[in-house]
C-alpha cells in the first residue's frame, strides 16, 4: 500500500452554508470539492452522498457556477433511531469562474454520490492571419 492510501480518512463536518435561500426544507451543506485544471478544461468533483443523479442541478449564470443536489432521507417509518451522526439535506456550492467556459460543452455525471463536472474552456480568439498578396 503506498503512502497516499495508507493515511486514515478523517470525517469532516458537513459545513452549513450560510445565507442560502433554499426552497426545500432541511439543512444546507457545503460539499467538499476538488477543482483541477488542464490545458483545455476545468474539472470539479463534489461529494454528495445519498444524492441521486436526477436530483442534481448545475447552473451557470454569467460566470457564477452553482451546483445543487438534495438527498431524500431513506429511513423508513417504524424504525427507531439508535445513533444519528449525519443528516440528509441539500448540498449547495457556488463558484465564480475566472475563465470563459464553453457552455454547450459542459458535461456533468454523478457516480456513487460524487458529482463530476467538466467545463471545457472556450476557444480564445485565434490570432487572425491576413494574407498579403502582391499587387498585379
Amino acid at each position: 500500500m503506498n503512502e497516499e492510501s495508507s493515511r486514515a480518512i478523517e470525517m469532516r463536518e458537513k459545513g452549513d452554508l450560510e445565507a442560502s435561500e433554499g426552497t426545500r426544507p432541511g439543512p444546507v451543506f457545503t460539499p467538499p470539492v476538488d477543482i483541477f485544471e488542464s490545458a483545455d478544461a476545468i474539472t470539479v468533483l463534489a461529494d454528495m452522498p445519498g444524492v441521486q443523479p436526477e436530483h442534481v442541478t448545475v447552473d451557470l449564470n454569467e460566470d457564477v457556477l452553482t451546483i445543487t443536489g438534495y438527498c431524500e432521507d431513506g429511513e423508513e417509518e417504524g424504525r427507531v433511531r439508535v445513533v444519528q451522526e449525519y443528516r440528509c439535506g441539500t448540498f449547495q456550492r457556488r463558484f465564480t469562474l475566472s475563465e470563459l467556459v464553453d457552455q454547450a460543452g459542459i458535461k456533468a455525471t454523478v457516480t456513487d454520490g460524487v458529482l463530476r463536472l467538466e467545463l471545457p474552456k472556450a476557444d480564445r480568439a485565434r490570432p487572425a492571419r491576413i494574407e498579403v498578396r502582391a499587387g498585379a
Binding site: M1, E4, S5, S6, R7, A8, I9, E10, M11, R12, E13, K14, P32, V33, D34, I35, F36, E37, S38, A39, T43, L45, D47, M48, P49, G50, V51, Q52, C71, G74, E75, G78, R79, V80, R81, V82, V83, Q84, E85, Y86, R87, V110, T111, D112, G113, V114
Partner: protein, 149 residues
C-alpha cells in the same frame, strides 16, 4: 497500515447496573443537545443506525468508494466497515482545491444485541452503504400472553 478506530458508540448495553445505565443515558442526552455533528468528530465514515423489530440498519456516507475497495465484516456483535478511497488520478493538471479526503478507513460499532448470520445484507447505492443485520431469534422482542390460572 490500517487504522482501526472504535467509534463512540452510544448503544446502551444490556445488563448494566442502575448507575451505569444512568451514566449512559446522561451521555446520550449530552449527545442529543450537541446535535448530530458533534457526536463523532473525526471518525469516518459517518453512520446512522436504526432498528425495528427484526433488523438493525446501518447507513454510512461513503461517496466515491469503489465497490471492490469496500469491506464489511461481522464478528459476534461487532460490525466493521473498512476500505479505502482513492484520489482521482489525473495527468498534467493543476489543482485549485483539494478538499475531498482520500486514504483508508476502518470503523467498528458494537451492536447491543446478538445478530443472526442468515439474511445479512449490504447494499451500496449513490454513495451510501446500507447494511441490514437481522436480530437473533433470542434477541427479538416477544410478548407473552398472560392467562388466568
Amino acid at each position: 497500515m490500517l487504522v482501526r478506530r472504535l467509534g463512540p458508540s452510544r448503544l446502551r448495553p444490556t445488563g448494566l447496573g442502575d448507575l451505569d445505565r444512568m451514566r449512559y443515558d446522561m451521555l446520550r442526552l449530552f449527545d442529543t443537545l450537541a446535535g448530530p455533528e458533534e457526536r463523532s468528530r473525526g471518525v469516518f465514515p459517518a453512520m446512522n443506525v436504526t432498528q425495528d423489530a427484526d433488523n438493525f440498519y446501518i447507513r454510512c456516507e461513503l461517496p466515491g468508494v469503489r465497490l471492490d475497495d469496500l469491506e464489511v465484516g461481522v464478528v459476534h456483535r461487532t460490525v466493521t466497515v473498512s476500505g479505502k478511497r482513492e484520489a482521482p488520478e489525473e495527468e498534467g493538471v493543476s489543482y485549485h482545491r483539494k478538499e475531498r479526503a482520500s486514504g483508508s478507513f476502518s470503523r467498528s460499532v458494537v451492536l447491543p444485541s446478538a445478530l443472526e448470520a442468515d439474511g445479512m445484507d449490504a447494499v451500496y447505492e449513490h454513495g451510501v452503504l446500507t447494511i441490514t443485520l437481522p436480530l437473533a431469534e433470542a434477541a427479538k422482542p416477544r410478548q407473552i400472553a398472560v392467562k388466568s390460572a
